[in-house]
Symmetry: C2
Subunit: 275 residues, 2 copies
């Protein structure tokens, strides 16, 4: 099977490594608008060759491992693929992508969101095993030709992922809470500290807790502003819910209602009975 | 040296293990109001013996590894110690503790905050090495007798900690941003998800990012409501700063000012040049 990967960063690069180590591809070609990334991907042996977007269309499977706005554009330019070609995206939003996918290739296009990643980006961040034992959400697969759906499922299962099926609308609502809101919070926390008089004196005290809470604030602003754009409504709703919780905490502290505050915290600790 | 530890949870228990493994104590006795914790501490060999609070006063060094409100009370009950006895606390707030410490034992009492911990509590959470390569903040040591100050420094350095000296007021301001605010945020995030219609469907998608952001929400409500109580003003101020940052993000998203949003995120990523 010939596989083409558009976007040779953390997600695309790590996928390339896995596809090779599980013998899923006889040949992997890559495409990236960033010339430095192309160079690095070759040096790191992530792909066998860098090709033009036109040549990449000849592959059996095309992965779109680029920011979500780029995925929408790329699908417009993939309308002339062979009916046997499967397209799979790895974007963090799903609804706008599935609804704007050209009808002509809708049955070829499997909408996927692997719940995997790190705060780093670019080919140098890629590593084997990123996807192992992680969840991948496949959305609206009833719109797919079974041939393409099964091909995508087979790839994800072979690299060690567990598949969850979901409606794209539902996915975007859930992803807002589990991923997009936490990113917004992490950026806001980082900026809160940075605007203090002497952030260095504060940060010298940083231990595991703060490091965890600010880790997502390392994430690529280009990638994440695209995600916030596409999931605008759900993200704003989740921000409203979160702000209300913060307001509750603030009021309980202001009014020194310590027993109620403890109860509010106690409720939060129950999350980990589910998680 | 005989060492007594009040509070045999994660902090006190882990300290006991380190004191033993670095041969800092010929004998370690413990005291805890929770009888189950006393039993567990003995079974886990954290301490040599459980003693009464009165008997614990006879030790050369007494560690207070209890919630911060408990530290204030314990200091009131330690006024009759021998002048050569050193008291060291491990509380997450410092100003109220140093200002309410009885004058009679103020020079004996070394106010310390080790920037170490996990989201777990109790003797079963204790482990050797919790303090290794971590920062410990010592506050207002100019109020200490050099004998007690040096004794405390020696213990912390021997178990592998790096000492940072700070004014208690400054400590509490910094700790609000680096630790107390992140805890409040984590509890609020957990509660935001829990109040959704179907938290289980959301949490099935949880990957590393969400797990990191919600980890602190496992922390003990008793311990943390005490901390919020003692650092009320600084915490409320930091919450205000954080809410302003969230408001900025929200407005940029609402008004679809994506370039400005990207810039706001870009600023946040610079945190990691310092951290």
């Amino acid at each position: 099977m010939h596989i083409g990967i558009v976007g040779l960063g953390l997600m695309g690069g790590s996928l390339a490594l896995d596809l090779k180590s599980y013998n899923l591809a006889s040949r992997i070609v890559g495409y990236d608008r960033n010339q430095k990334h192309c160079q690095e991907a070759l040096e790191l042996n992530l792909v066998d060759e860098i090709v033009s977007f036109e040549d990449l269309k000849k592959c059996d499977v095309i992965f779109l491992a680029i920011p979500v706005e780029g995925i929408i554009n790329a699908l417009q330019n993939l309308q002339d693929i062979d009916p046997k070609t499967t397209i799979i995206d790895l974007g963090s939003t799903k609804e706008k992508i599935v609804t704007t996918c050209p009808q002509k290739i809708r049955s070829n296009f499997v909408a996927a969101h692997p719940m995997a990643g790190t705060e780093y980006s670019g080919p140098l961040a890629a590593f084997r095993g990123l996807y192992y034992d992680k969840i991948v959400v496949l959305c609206n697969t009833e719109e797919n030709d079974p041939f393409h759906k099964e091909r995508a499922e087979n790839i994800f299962v072979t690299i060690g992922m567990q598949i969850v099926y979901m409606d794209a609308k539902e996915h975007d609502l859930h992803a807002a809470y589990i991923s997009h809101l936490p990113h917004a919070i992490s950026y806001a926390l980082a900026n809160s500290v940075l605007q203090q008089e002497d952030p260095k004196s504060i940060l010298i005290l940083a231990a595991g807790g703060f490091k965890d809470m600010s880790r997502l604030a390392k994430s690529s602003p280009t990638m994440w502003s695209d995600i916030f754009k596409q999931n605008k409504k759900n993200l704003l709703d989740s921000l409203e819910v979160f702000k209300k919780e913060l307001r509750t905490a603030k009021e309980l502290i202001e009014k020194e209602r310590w027993e109620d505050l403890k109860e509010w915290m106690q409720k939060a600790t129950t999350l980990h009975k589910i998680l």
